[in-house]
Symmetry: C2
């Protein structure tokens, strides 16, 4: 099982947008340029983030995307679910109801034990992502990103927001 | 992201095999019949479980598959990883190294903060599955499966193992 590339892109875009000065926005083409990813495909991911209320669009010549809420109020889980959906990775097709041991549907009152444990694992995965906000990512980045990259990022911002 | 159907089948097969009396085995065709799934595709999953040392084959007319270890010594994680691999669901393509802020590779000493949190979520998912054994599933099933299905299962075993 793999998450789509769009999940990585969306998480990075939200992180970058959290560095925007108040009142500013970044066009999708700039977000694609910064991340070195194809613009048309990234645009679809940004639209999904917009529908989920994570980013919002600002119209006009200096318009583009910005975060719809403060970085501390946006969890990684929200971004992942906006781009990948809310469904568990485990596909339960209720095979216990097939074959020679099948009984009438009404008798399957409790969920299948295997399904229950898979759901528990899925909940643990989502809980970790719900516990990390974009603000947390920024804090971690400020400690771990190469200083050269942070300087270049700052310079890039000054140029594109002129 | 979705796990393959084979993961559900493999977990159910290992659970069923845990009910086999000592010294007995079930052919792949019987496992397919019991679960109402296509035999040829199930056979591939059983071979993967065999390569992972979770099931083993018994040759001969009354041969087939049986668990290679006690149900308490087989975790759900082992089965999931045998069928779906060990890779995290998150696909990190290191997009931080692309675009205008890229710096030489040697400067990226710490893992990307986004990747680090995604890894933490993956570890939480795997920890839940590692904590549940096939013996645990059997205990849960004995409490929650429809009694009619348990009776039919017992009857089916008596017939096919005659």
């Amino acid at each position: 099982m793999r998450l789509s590339e769009g999940v990585e892109w969306g998480l990075h875009c939200a992180t970058l947008l959290s560095f925007l000065p108040d009142g500013q926005a970044l066009p999708a083409a700039r977000l694609a340029e910064y991340h070195g990813v194809p613009g048309a495909y990234l645009a679809k991911n940004l639209q999904a983030l917009s529908r989920a209320g994570i980013v919002e669009t600002v119209p006009g010549a200096r318009g583009g995307y910005r975060l719809a809420r403060s970085p501390a109020a946006i969890s990684m889980l929200e971004i992942v679910e906006a781009l990948d959906g809310h469904e568990s990775a485990f596909r339960c097709t209720e095979i216990r109801r097939r074959g020679p041991t099948a009984v009438p549907a009404r008798e399957y009152r409790a969920p299948c034990a295997i399904h229950a444990v898979m759901d528990r694992a899925d909940a643990a995965w989502r809980a970790e992502l719900a516990a990390a906000s974009i603000a947390d990512i920024v804090t971690m980045l400020s400690e771990s990103a190469p200083s050269g990259a942070l300087k270049k990022g700052s310079k890039w911002f000054q140029e594109v927001l002129r």
